[in-house]
Symmetry: C2
Subunit: 207 residues, 2 copies
């Protein structure tokens, strides 16, 4: 690849990322129903036709957005795995990342993710994209749970803890979408997540 | 009210319910983007224009659907409150009701509920309808949690348990929408819900 081609590829990747970030905002503000190439162009402040050039169809644009959201989720999860465990509040960092999706750009991401979840019901290609990333994110979530709950050697227990913690987080995301702030701060959520993981472990010991 | 008016009102209510059930199916199958009065007419097998007659605008139709879904949720929650508590598996009946939303008409309801949650972001009237029912459902959920976890006299603890259990259930609904069957049967879910409620109670005792 020549130097010029490398630059062009990098610029293309950056442009795609910009367009997807704009599409996330459009999805969050106007819903799946309001997502059009033109609206993404205007939101990204790029010349008319740019989004159509990079993402020919609406389905391709949705897959691009799905990939972008998964990239952000992967980066966040990696930071949970990399951060040294806080023995006083092991779930503190994870809880902070979740609560960042309560407002601002985090809330947009949260809403866009849910729009895609529903759109994937009618779009097998989008569902396949989500599933591919879902598998990777699932593996990382296992790793994160093992990191936050050390001493869990039993894979079945780790599986059960991961399921419980991620289900709980999915529920928090759903609450936040509609502005439900029953769970309102990262400290409260960190305690709840720890309680959930501990409860699953206690239950496993009893049975 | 004359006998004829009473009959007319009852017929009107029944017709509205039929139309809303059809709209739930349309929302689940075609998304918010695909919801049109004409599609609801065809799905309900009623003459063209019927849905427009009962629900003049799209917003009115969405509010009708929101009311219908809340009615179903209220009926389900009431059955949890009314059913004698099973001491061996207190959350069994609630878990069965949740898992009914994994497929068939239950999954349609689940998907339509999420479509409305996202639509309410852009529709203050719909958000107000949801909040009004949300408050009632919240009170009933408290009652159900108190029924399933007797001996919880502390209102703050009951509050925390209700929050944790409903958040977990919201997460299960979200998983089921995309066909994620990590949580796959009512028995598994009943144990998880019990673990969550117990965990919150244990944590409260420690602090």
């Amino acid at each position: 690849m020549t130097a010029r081609n490398v630059t062009r590829k990098r610029n293309g990747d950056e442009r795609r990322r910009e367009l997807c970030d704009a599409a996330i905002q459009v999805l969050a503000e106007h819903g799946s129903r309001g997502l059009t190439h033109g609206r993404v162009d205007r939101c990204a402040r790029v010349p008319e036709g740019t989004t159509s050039y990079y993402y020919r169809t609406r389905a391709a644009l949705l897959r691009g957005v799905g990939t972008r959201i998964a990239e952000i989720d992967v980066t966040n999860l990696q930071s949970v795995i990399d951060e040294p465990r806080d023995p006083l509040s092991p779930f503190a960092h994870l809880a902070e990342l979740v609560m960042m999706q309560a407002d601002g750009t985090g809330l947009m991401l949260n809403r866009a993710r849910h729009e895609l979840l529903l759109a994937a019901v009618r779009d097998p290609d989008l569902a396949a994209t989500s599933q591919a990333f879902g598998a990777r994110i699932n593996t990382m979530t296992h790793e994160a749970t093992a990191h936050l709950q050390p001493g869990t050697d039993d894979p079945a227990l780790l599986d059960a803890q991961t399921t419980a913690v991620t289900t709980f987080i999915a529920g928090v995301f759903t609450r936040l979408i509609g502005g439900d702030r029953t769970i309102n701060d990262a400290g409260q959520l960190a305690r709840l997540l720890e309680a959930v993981a501990t409860a699953v472990s206690l239950q496993a010991q009893r049975t």
